[in-house]
């Protein structure tokens, strides 16, 4: 089989290629940036309107108190799991093919979390009082309600965000040093100088670096799992039919990893093209990535079926009605679309011929995420439309353009953050790629690659 990466790339070459991404991307980069900005302005407009007029303009009502905001919130949280998966989990498992791509995956984690955080705000009826949710000594002498899953959310997300930022930064230090040494003027020079914390690559620095990095990695994995389990408990802990499902936490985590991987594929393809990373983000790596995605897709499908089964064979008639309603009611098209995108479509990824066919993968990966987004929406809205109390059922309350606008804009916001990052910081980890190349070359010289602690 083809190689993940050429062993004969000179280290200097690696620096050169990667640093080039900080200088001159293709024109497409700027186009994307502009589009992103446009999308954001839409969202900002909508939010200002909603803030001043009241939540009513989002066309929710007393039956549909939650809608797209929460759905999209979960979506972005889910997205954030990819980074952890690739960098932390695979790091511990010494899957070295992750090395060229984990950096931007981590960036993704950070930025999608930031986006998710925004939705919590957008969703609140009294955004200006949001600080009530935080426990701090105040003149009212009251605390938030620690029983509420929403408060757990607040903690979980805050912790996860801060630690994943830390993880991203720490992992970048050696590369920042490289940038510092190779760029000779301008604000960037200063930036890198400060951020690289005087990295010289001495033996001692490397040792501490490895330990720290490892520690944070270990710390991050349980966080990643917990954060989405907690988000899941927003629903699992409530008594709404369709939400009150024990299998939600694993289900959510699987979904999260799923959409994360899909997103990585998408961005993989974009970066590979925009920053001319063909040498590093190679097809074999993509192939591994795709297989991983496929595996997770199947896990998700399985858990999905489990959920249906547990509802179906459970004695709760209301929940059963709810499920039937999902599959047959006004939400049916979206429900089945979700099943198709989430479970049927990924079967394509099982075929070798598609595993490296970038255009197709690009489209598919996006569709997978559409499916994932639909999944979140299908968890939220049908339960509100068709809950415990028939009198208050509401089958024809659809999100207004304000909601759609803000959801739409959030993608712009994410893209902007991400693209700017890739332009300012090396989106491929240079030192790790060098390691990778080195080990591969050792392996070539018929020496067994050294495994374990080094």
């Amino acid at each position: 089989m083809e190689k993940d990466i050429r062993e004969d790339i000179a280290w200097a070459q690696i620096n050169k290629d990667v640093l080039k991404s900080l200088e001159s991307p293709r024109r497409l980069y700027w186009v994307i940036l502009l589009i992103a900005l446009a999308m954001i302005s839409v969202a900002v407009g909508c939010e200002i309107y909603q803030y001043t007029t009241g939540m009513g303009v989002s066309n929710k009502n007393n039956s549909h108190v939650w809608s797209l905001y929460i759905a999209t919130f979960i979506f972005w949280i889910g997205m954030s799991h990819s980074g952890t998966l690739l960098s932390a989990i695979l790091h511990l498992m010494h899957a070295d093919w992750r090395k060229p791509i984990y950096r931007f995956a981590e960036a993704m984690t950070t930025f999608s979390l930031m986006t998710a955080g925004l939705f919590v705000m957008v969703h609140l009826g009294r955004l200006w009082q949001v600080y009530y949710v935080m426990p701090y000594p105040n003149e009212r002498w009251v605390w938030p309600n620690f029983q509420s899953p929403l408060v757990w959310d607040m903690f979980a997300i805050a912790t996860y965000l801060s630690s994943s930022v830390l993880f991203l930064y720490v992992g970048m230090i050696p590369d920042l040093a490289i940038c510092r040494d190779n760029i000779h003027a301008g604000w960037r020079k200063k930036l890198y100088t400060v951020m690289s914390l005087g990295w010289e690559g001495t033996d001692r620095q490397w040792r501490n670096f490895r330990v720290t990095y490892l520690t944070i990695a270990c710390f991050l994995i349980p966080l990643a799992v917990s954060v989405h389990s907690i988000v899941a408990s927003d629903f699992a802990m409530s008594n709404m039919p369709g939400w009150h499902v024990t299998s939600f936490p694993p289900y959510f985590v699987a979904g999260a990893l799923y959409s994360g991987c899909a997103a990585i594929i998408t961005l993989f393809i974009i970066l590979r093209y925009v920053f001319r990373f063909e040498e590093y983000m190679t097809l074999p790596i993509m192939k591994k990535l795709v297989r991983l995605t496929f595996a997770i897709a199947m896990v998700w499908t399985y858990l999905n079926l489990i959920e249906f089964a547990s509802v179906w064979y459970g004695h709760d008639q209301t929940a059963k009605d709810q499920l039937i309603f999902k599959a047959t009611g006004p939400y049916a098209p979206f429900f089945w679309a979700m099943i198709f995108f989430g479970s049927i479509l990924p079967l394509m990824l099982a075929f070798k011929r598609f595993q490296t066919h970038l255009p197709i993968l690009f489209v598919v990966s996006i569709l997978l995420n559409v499916g994932m987004w639909l999944e979140r929406w299908m968890i939220i809205s049908p339960s509100f439309a068709h809950g415990h109390y028939p009198w208050t059922w509401d089958h024809d309350q659809w999100p207004s353009l304000v909601q759609w606008g803000i959801v739409f804009g959030s993608f712009g916001w994410f893209t902007l953050l991400f693209m700017v990052f890739c332009k300012v910081f090396p989106s491929v980890s240079m030192y790790e790629v060098k390691e990778m190349v080195y080990h591969r070359s050792l392996a070539l010289k018929h020496k067994p690659a050294v495994k374990g602690d080094y």
Partner: protein
């Protein structure tokens, strides 16, 4: 690998010590005074003359002689003009002083004096004067001025009353968490109610 262990031990240690501190950190039970703004009243009413100690030339009038609603309503209230006149028409000594003149102008015009609020609580709060007066003055036989003073400060030394206490929720709670004897005689004590609808409406 050692450094790895060291680091985690350090982290755990930090967390433990921090939380143990937090658990034992005790809050002060009343918060500091905080002087409110000066309020321009239509007539500059001298509380010290009316309620102040005889030594300082005050009349030592009971707060509830004028703020008569305090013991039977949620608001302490301002006496009707009638009441001021009731006394002052027979007090010739000060009859001609500017403030009293003004007072009588209002009376002749049959216009109510537009007294301004000094202690103004937010409108989602229901503070019940009756309950506090009943509890501290009538059940516990606390001196009236002391009881009122808990929240209004030492009014008998002021001319125009001015807010002295912060009147913030925490300040209320700080007192509601104290145990007070239920009445003058008994040793049984209870603290104030702390469910939200006691004060929030």
């Amino acid at each position: 690998m050692y450094c790895f262990l060291r680091l985690s031990v350090l982290l755990v240690g930090l967390i433990v010590s921090a939380s143990s501190y937090a658990v034992n950190a005790v809050q002060p039970l009343t918060t500091a005074d905080d002087l409110g703004p000066k309020v321009e009243q239509p007539i500059e009413f001298p509380h010290d003359r009316h309620a102040g100690d005889a030594a300082k030339g005050g009349m030592q009038i009971n707060c509830m002689y004028c703020h008569t609603y305090a013991r039977r309503s949620i608001v302490a209230g301002i006496p009707p003009l009638q009441k001021c006149i009731g006394c002052h028409q027979s007090i010739e000594s000060v009859r001609e002083t500017p403030r009293i003149k003004k007072l009588f102008e209002y009376w002749e015009a049959k216009k109510a004096v537009p007294w301004k609020k000094v202690h103004d609580l937010p409108d989602f709060v229901r503070f019940n004067h009756e309950r506090h007066i009943q509890r501290f003055v009538f059940a516990q036989n606390k001196p009236v001025q002391e009881a009122c003073g808990y929240c209004h400060g030492d009014v008998k030394t002021m001319t125009v009353a001015r807010r002295q206490k912060p009147l913030s929720m925490g300040w209320c709670v700080s007192c509601h968490q104290k145990d007070h004897p239920v009445d003058a005689t008994s040793t049984k004590t209870t603290h104030g109610p702390n469910d939200c609808w006691q004060c929030h409406k």
